[in-house]
Symmetry: C4
Subunit: 265 residues, 4 copies
C-alpha cells in the first residue's frame, strides 16, 4: 500500500515530521490525526452550509473567511507532506496525494471542495478488513454486476415496448432507468406501469429482484464470515497476487504460494 517512506532518518526534523503526519500510532501522530479530522469535517460543513441559500446570504463573510482559513491550512499540510516524503512522485500520484492536492486548488466549482471528505478515508483504510472481504469477492461481484446489467437492459426494453411514452417510458434508456429503480427496490414512483400487462411484468421483475438482492448479500456474507469475529485483526496483502490473508500464522500466500510479509504486532 504505502509505497513511499520518510525523506530522511527518523531522528532528523524531516524524519520526525514524516512520522507525525503519515503515522497513526505514535503520540504526536495521533494528535495530528485528531486535529486533521476536525478540520476536514469543519471544512466540509462550511461547503455544505454555503450551498443553502438562506445561510449563504446571512453569513457570507464568515463563510468566505472560514473557507480561506481551511484552504491555507490544507495548503500548509500538502507542502509539508511533499517536503518530508520520498519519493515525492509516489505520494503525489497516490489516491491521497491527488485528494490532498484537489482540496487546495482553486477548483472551477467551489462545491467540489466537499470531496475533501475523502481525506477521511486515510483514517479508515489501514484497519479495515471489510475492504479485504470485498476485494477477495471482486470476481464473483463483477459476474453478478454483468448479470444485473443484462437483466435491466432486457427488462427496460420490454417495458418500453409494453408501456410506451404514455406512461413516461419515452425511450429504452428511460426503461432501463425504471428497471434499475425497481430491481434495487428503490421505487421512486416517478415512473410506474399503467397497463395491466406492464403491471404483471413489473410484478415479475420485483419478485425477481427479491431473489437477486440475495446474491450480493450471500457473497459478502460468505467472505465476512471468514473474518474472525469480535476485535478486527490486522490483514496482510500478498505482495504478488494481492490476496488478503487474515490468518496471522500464514507464512505463504494460499493462492500464489509467494512469501507473505510478517504480521504487524
Amino acid at each position: 500500500m504505502a509505497a513511499h517512506g520518510p525523506a530522511a532518518p527518523l531522528d532528523t526534523l524531516r524524519g520526525r515530521t514524516y512520522s507525525v503526519i503519515f503515522g497513526h500510532e505514535k503520540g504526536w501522530g495521533r494528535h495530528f490525526d485528531a486535529i486533521l479530522i476536525v478540520f476536514i469535517l469543519g471544512s466540509v460543513a462550511v461547503v455544505m452550509l454555503d450551498s443553502v441559500s438562506g445561510i449563504r446570504s446571512a453569513y457570507r463573510d464568515e463563510l468566505v473567511a472560514l473557507e480561506w482559513a481551511f484552504t491555507i491550512l490544507f495548503t500548509i499540510e500538502y507542502v509539508t507532506r511533499i517536503w518530508c516524503v520520498r519519493p515525492v512522485r509516489a505520494y503525489a500520484l497516490s489516491f491521497f496525494g491527488v485528494v490532498d492536492l484537489l482540496s487546495i486548488l482553486p477548483t472551477f466549482l467551489r462545491v467540489i471542495r466537499v470531496f475533501r471528505v475523502f481525506k477521511l478515508a486515510r483514517f479508515l483504510g489501514e484497519a479495515s478488513v471489510l475492504a479485504a472481504a470485498l476485494r477477495n469477492a471482486r470476481y464473483k461481484i463483477s459476474v453478478f454486476l454483468v448479470t444485473v446489467v443484462c437483466i435491466v437492459i432486457c427488462v427496460g426494453s420490454v417495458m418500453y415496448l409494453v408501456e410506451g411514452p404514455a406512461a413516461g417510458f419515452t425511450s429504452i434508456p428511460q426503461g432501463v432507468y425504471w428497471a434499475i429503480v425497481t430491481l434495487t427496490t428503490v421505487g421512486y414512483g416517478d415512473l410506474a406501469p399503467i397497463t395491466s400487462l406492464g403491471k404483471a411484468l413489473a410484478s415479475f421483475v420485483m419478485i425477481l429482484g427479491y431473489g437477486i438482492i440475495a446474491v450480493p448479500t450471500g457473497i459478502v456474507t460468505a467472505e465476512i464470515a471468514q473474518l474472525p469475529t469480535g476485535r478486527t485483526p490486522l490483514a496482510r496483502a500478498c505482495p504478488s497476487c494481492e490476496h488478503i490473508e487474515i490468518d496471522a500464522d500464514a507464512r505463504f500466500c494460499r493462492f500464489c504460494g509467494g512469501e507473505m510479509p510478517p504480521p504487524r504486532s
Copy 2:
C-alpha cells in the same frame, strides 16, 4: 449490568419487594411483570389515541382520567423501586431509572409520554443475545457507517451540481438527503432526478447501494451465526472488556484474559 441490589435481606418486606419488582423468574415477580407490561401498553395506547383529533374531542374526559391513573400508578412504581433498591444512585442514574422517572414527570409535552414504551426494554434486555452480536460487531459497523456518510456527502454534492434547484436539489444537504433516501432503497420519490445525466448517476448509486446493503447484513449474519441455534442460551459479559461470551464452558475472556463470572444455571 445490574449494578444494584436489594436494600435489605430477602426475607424482609423490602427484600421481598425488591425480588418481586426487579426479579423476572419467581412467581410474584412474573405476575408483577405481566401487569406492568399491560399498564405500559395501555398507557402508550392512551397517548397515541389522544393524538388523533377525532378521538380526543369525543373522549376527552376518559383519556384524561386514564392518563392520570397511569401517571399515579407509575409514580407508585417509581417510589417503590427507590425504596427497595440500594444504592439508590445506581438505579436512579441507570437507563431504566431515567426512563421510569421521565414517565411520571409533568413533561413539557404530553406526547413525550409515549417514550414509556422504553419501559418494555426491561423485559427484553436480560435475555437478548442479539444485542451481544451487535455489540461485538460495533467496530466493523462504525467503519461501515463512516464509509456510508462519506459516500452520501459526495453523491449528494454531485447531484446538487448535476440537477440543480429545478429538480428540487436546492442545497447540498438536500442532495445528501436524496442520497440517503436512495442508497437505503427507501425511495420516497419526493426528490428524483430529471436530467439524463442525473438519472445515469442515480442508476449508478442504486446499484452501488445494492452492494452496500450487503455489508451490514454480512457483518451481523457472521456474528449471529456464531450464536447457538434453537433455544437462546444465557450470555455473559466480560467484566473488564465487555466482550460477550456465549460459550458456557469459557472461564476466561478470550480477548482480555480476565476471569468470567460463572454462567447462570
Copy 3:
C-alpha cells in the same frame, strides 16, 4: 402434525380413499393431488377475474357457473375427507379442516373465497424445512419484532412533534405508519418530511433501518445455514417440545431429551 388416521383398514374402500386423498406418494394419491391443485388454482383465478369489473359484466354467467362447479367439487372433497378420517374432530379442527370448510360455506363475502389458495399450503407443508428454520428461530424473531415496535412508536411520535399536520403527520398512529414505511425501506412517498429537522431525523431513521434489516436476515441465514444444502431432507418434529430435528441419525431430541419418531425412509 397429522394427528389423525384412516377410519378403516387400508384394504377397505374407506381406507383406500383415505390413502388417496390424504396421502401424497402413492400413484392415485399423486393424481388426486395434481387434480386438486388445478381446481384450487382455477377457483382462485375465477374469484380474481370476477373482481375485475370489465370481465364481470362481460362473462357474468360463465363465472357464476364456474363458481358453482368449484363449490360443489370442494363440497364433495370435504364430505369425503370427513367420511374416511378418524377421529373426525382432529381433522375438522385442524388448520386444513377449517380452510376446507370455509372454501364451501356460502361466505358473507364472495371475495373471501380467494382464501382457498391456502388449500395449496397442504402440498408445501410436509416437505418444507424452511418453516422448521423459522420455527427454531421464533424466540429471536419475536425479540426482534418487539424491538422494532418500540422503535417505530418512538420515531413516529417524534416525527409527529417535529413535522406536525402540515406535512400529513396528523396523529401519532400516522407517524408510526410513516416510521414503518420508512424503516422497512418501502418508502411510498405519500408521507414524507418537509422541514429540515424532519429530513435530518428521517435520514437517521433510514440509516438505522439499514442496520436493522440485517438482523432478521442474520437470524434466518444462521438457521438455514444449519440445513444440509442441495436436496432437502425430511425433517422430524420432536413430539414433546416441537423442536425440528434434521439430523437423520438423531434418536433423542437435543433439547428435551424425549424420544424422536424414526425418520421416514
Copy 4:
C-alpha cells in the same frame, strides 16, 4: 453443457475456426471473444440510442448504417458457427444458437434486437459458480416462491375489500400488484392505503415483508458459503442428476452416486 464439438479435426481450417469462435482460452479465441463483446455492446448501444427520439431524428442515417453493419457481422458469425460445428442441431437448438439467430432475423420489432445483450451470457456461463449455487437451492427457492404467491393473493384480496376502488384498489389483481410492490419493499406509491384499517394492515404486511426478505437471502447465503472464497474454482455438473459439485477431489456424485467427469485442470 456443451453437447456439440468441432466439425473436423482441429488441424484443418474448420477445426481451427471452431476452436477460435467456440473456445475461450487460446490466443485467437481470446481476441475473437474481445472483438465480439465490443460488437455486442456497440449493437445494443445503437438500439438504445435509436429509441431516444431526439437522437433518432438527428442521426437517422448513421444509426441505420451501423444497424446494417452489425446485422451483417452477426450474420457472418452465425453462418461460420453453423459451418464449423457438429452436430448442427445441437448448436442451433441450444440457448445461444437461438439467441444468435434472433440477433440477425428481420425481427418484427427492431427494439427486440436489444436482446442481443444475451449473447454476452456466453462469456459468463462457463466460469460462474453462482449459477451453481442458485441451481442447488432451486427446490427451497420454489417452495419460497409458492409461499410468496399465496401471501400476495390473500393480502391483495383483503386490501381490495378494505380499501375499495376509492384508493385505486379497483380489482383483486390490482390489490395483488400492490401487495407485491409492498412486500418486495419497492413501494412506488402509485397505490397506497388511505383508510386507517388499510394502513394498519399495510404496516403488518411491511413488517412481514421484512422477515420474508430474509428467507431467500438466507437460502442463497447458505449455498454460497459452501463455495470456496477467493478465486473461484471450476465446478462440475453430475451427468445424471445435474447436482453441481465444487469439491475437486470428488469422484462420485454425492446425491445419485454416479461417476463425475474429471475436474478440468
